[in-house]
């Protein structure tokens, strides 16, 4: 079933309110946004590099990622996205896409026309500030990923990403007790961290053999959170959530 506008916009309101409180007037303005809901298959492009989109995509269900294809079919994944995220928010102000966005799993999305978002942010500077803050947090996550790709060992980089995903998912109620559904393949993890599949496989095996994680049937259980975070110096400050997972 295609999502109803009310349900979709509630997701957006929840996301924005996780950053800052909205006034009743702001909430009503968001509820009036004209949106189009759609179901998408896994591994389907939502927007491609060089596109000039006229709408932004709010992720309601499922996972998505930002990526770029290189020659010889190589792929770099820049970020993973979970429900509540607007992975192509930058297209509101940057006309041409400099990367692509695709679904990782089956997903439900809501498209919001740029024009409506522009009117909303012009009328409500508080909402514009929240979206701005969201893109700054995005930047903070990119900096952390640079450190991961450039300076962490394969073991530390994989551990760090598993911790990051847990804290992000827990913050939107999609993970608890240090467990979550991890729909990423070893190839996805490799493409995100600049590692070969073989190294990702060896690393996950290492983490499992050392009793830090259990990974079975697409479900990840972090059995020893303190040790896993200690191993990769994970500090959730860069996610700028009000409360961190412990």
């Amino acid at each position: 079933m295609v999502p109803t506008p009310a349900l979709s916009l509630n997701m957006l309101i929840r996301k924005l309110e996780s950053i800052s409180r909205l006034s009743d007037e702001e909430r009503r303005a968001i509820e009036r946004l004209p949106i189009t809901g759609r179901h998408l298959a896994a591994h389907q492009d939502i927007v491609r590099e060089k596109d000039r989109p006229s709408q932004c995509c709010l992720l309601l269900e499922g996972w998505a990622c930002r990526y770029q294809l290189l020659s010889e079919g190589k792929r770099q994944i820049f970020s993973f996205h979970i429900p509540g995220d607007i992975p192509d928010l930058q297209s509101l102000h940057l006309k041409v896409m400099d990367h692509s966005v695709c679904t990782v799993t089956q997903a439900t999305v809501a498209f919001i026309p740029h024009e409506a978002l522009r009117e909303l942010t012009a009328a409500f500077p508080g909402i514009a500030a929240i979206l701005w803050r969201d893109t700054l947090v995005d930047g903070a996550i990119f900096r952390e990923w640079m450190t991961g790709i450039g300076r962490r060992s394969a073991l530390e980089a994989v551990a760090h990403l598993l911790c990051e995903l847990y804290v992000k998912l827990e913050a939107v109620g999609l993970a608890r007790d240090h467990a979550y559904r991890l729909p990423l393949t070893q190839a996805d993890l490799g493409d995100a961290l600049g590692l070969s599949n073989v190294h990702v496989n060896r690393t996950l095996r290492d983490l499992r053999d050392n009793g830090l994680i259990t990974l079975h049937g697409g479900k990840l259980q972090i059995d020893r959170w303190q040790e896993l975070t200690g191993l990769c110096d994970f500090d959730a400050t860069y996610l700028h959530l009000d409360r961190g997972a412990v």
Binding site: K74, G190, G194, L195, S196, N197, V198, H199, N201, R202, R205, D206
Partner: protein, 80 residues
């Protein structure tokens, strides 16, 4: 120019221990490792554990067999 292989056991921190040193003109140019059963669909394939002078890649490639690995290494050494 041709490549010479020399069997070796490699400590990779995993079950992938069966390896081949690859030499060109007496100089070590790559270390290949045969992937163990841990890698399921890729078990038996050859992984470029290390490579030198162009026979390397950030995300280390995997090859179906030793011939394919040697072809790739030779191409890299030839600068193709």
């Amino acid at each position: 120019m041709s490549l010479q292989l020399q069997p070796v056991r490699v400590k990779t921190g995993s079950h992938d221990t069966e390896g081949q040193l690859v030499f060109t003109d007496g100089l070590l140019v790559a270390v290949l490792v045969r992937l163990s059963e841990d890698h399921e669909g890729k078990a038996g394939m050859w992984f470029l554990e290390a490579g030198f002078d162009g026979a390397e890649e950030r995300t280390h490639p995997t090859f179906a067999d030793l011939d394919a690995a040697q072809e790739w290494i030779q191409r890299r050494l030839d600068g193709c």
